[in-house]
């Protein structure tokens, strides 16, 4: 009887520890990657942001004090700091795959000058994160194009305006499944309407091509 009790004790103790080790405490729905092979090598994948449904938060950061950071001396070839820094347009979206499933979160920081330096952080929980930098479309440029197409501030507008990004962004870092890939990202904005409060309707397509780094 005593041996049986001790055996049960050991099984309970070891079983609980094994469960704590083996149990998948965190898991994410993994959708199939909607990728295709491109002609000259690499893998193309499109992410989509639907506006306004996928917008989590947007604002213009105007109240930053600025100042030096880290005492960093720029490396040769790095962009020197500007004397009068422009405010930053900060946007956060839910990120969808081509099939429309929400697969991640995107953060976009862009200077408000046109064309502006843009940094993207794409986090896909089941796969990893991509961090990209380049030149993106500024809100001011899109607004100017909408005015050309007949939009008046404070009024609604319906139509179609397709705005490709002025340049591609390249990956500066990648983690987990994306690690080792050199990724290029091109923005394509398709605006189908503007609400009276200025909220855009349409999509932002993020077209990426990833190649295995050398």
């Amino acid at each position: 009887m005593k041996r049986l009790f001790v055996f049960g004790l050991v099984v309970g103790f070891a079983g609980t520890l094994a469960g704590a080790y083996l149990f998948p405490w965190v898991s994410y729905t993994r959708y199939p990657s909607e990728t295709s092979v491109v002609a000259n090598g690499g893998r193309a994948e499109q992410f989509v942001i639907r506006l306004p449904a996928d917008r989590i938060e947007s604002h213009v950061a105007t109240d930053l004090a600025g100042g030096t950071m880290l005492g960093a001396a720029p490396l040769e070839g790095a962009t020197p700091p500007s004397a009068e820094p422009a405010p930053a347009q900060v946007d956060h979206y839910k990120l969808r795959d081509r099939a429309g499933n929400v697969v991640g979160i995107a953060a976009r920081h862009a200077v408000t000058q046109d064309p502006g330096a843009t940094a993207w952080l794409l986090a896909v929980p089941s796969r990893g994160a991509l961090m990209l930098a380049g030149t993106g479309q500024s809100a001011a440029a899109i607004e100017a194009m909408l005015v050309e197409r007949g939009w008046t501030r404070g009024e609604t507008w319906t139509g179609e305006l397709v705005v490709p990004g002025p340049g591609a962004a390249g990956s500066v870092a990648a983690t987990r499944e994306f690690a080792g890939l050199e990724v290029e990202l091109a923005e394509l904005w398709t605006i189908t309407g503007v609400e009276a409060d200025g909220e855009l309707r349409g999509t932002i397509e993020l077209n990426t091509v990833g190649r295995r780094g050398t």
Binding site: M1, L4, F5, G8, L9, V10, V11, G12, F13, A14, G15, T16, L17, A20, Y21, F23, W25, V26, Y28, T29, E57, H59, A61, G66, G67, M69, L70, G71, A72, A73, P74, L75, E76, A78, T79, P80, P81, P85, A88, V90, H92, K94, V102, V103, G104, I105, A107, H109, A117, A119, L121, A123, P125, S126, A129, M131, A133, V172, A173, T175
Partner: protein, 229 residues
Amino acid sequence: MKYLVVWFLGAVLGAVAAAAALYYNPLTSGAGRGRASDADTLAYRFPEPSVVALSHAEQLGLPSIPDDVPLLWESGIAGTMLGVVNLGADAGAARAIASRISVPSMRTNLLLEGVLVDDYWLVTMPGQGSLFVETEGNYWPLLKDTIIPVGFLKRPWAGTAEYRPTRGPGPGRSGELVGATGRFAGRTGGASESLVLERYSAEGGFESLRGELSIALDPLPVDEAAAAE
């Protein structure tokens, strides 16, 4: 039948003992990497005045900021959290805007690692550039010492507590500056986060917290340093 009951009692006692061992497990309770002496520190205060937005799936009693911010409820992003934070040398003097995407790590296990969260930071200083920072933090000590006893078991809070969750993924259990643009382009370095929880209650959750993201750039190579001068 008698034998089965005895075995079952033993198994239950064993499971309870194992649960207690897991709760106080020193392998998952240790403090992480502290701030490097040469690091530049960007501080924030939660919830005010630093946090511009906080979105999640309503976990751990955290507030949504602003109240009507969309929740992250979809199964592909369940458990993730987005924070938008003004970072400064001290509260109120913001120098940078940061987007922080926190993703509970699939490496989480309560026996050897703890409750792991991957934090991806995009920190932008207008006019200077952006920094991409990756940290892996173990939040089991925060859960064990504060959230479970005070938030769930309604025990009185012991007072101000400091946590250093960062434990990777860089060398020396430090976080990593994995990429940068503008004047920081090409630079690498380490990073860590520390949290001072100043007020917490079962009703109000995190009422006052001071956080610090510390970033230490790696030294320039000698020839690059000479060129920079």
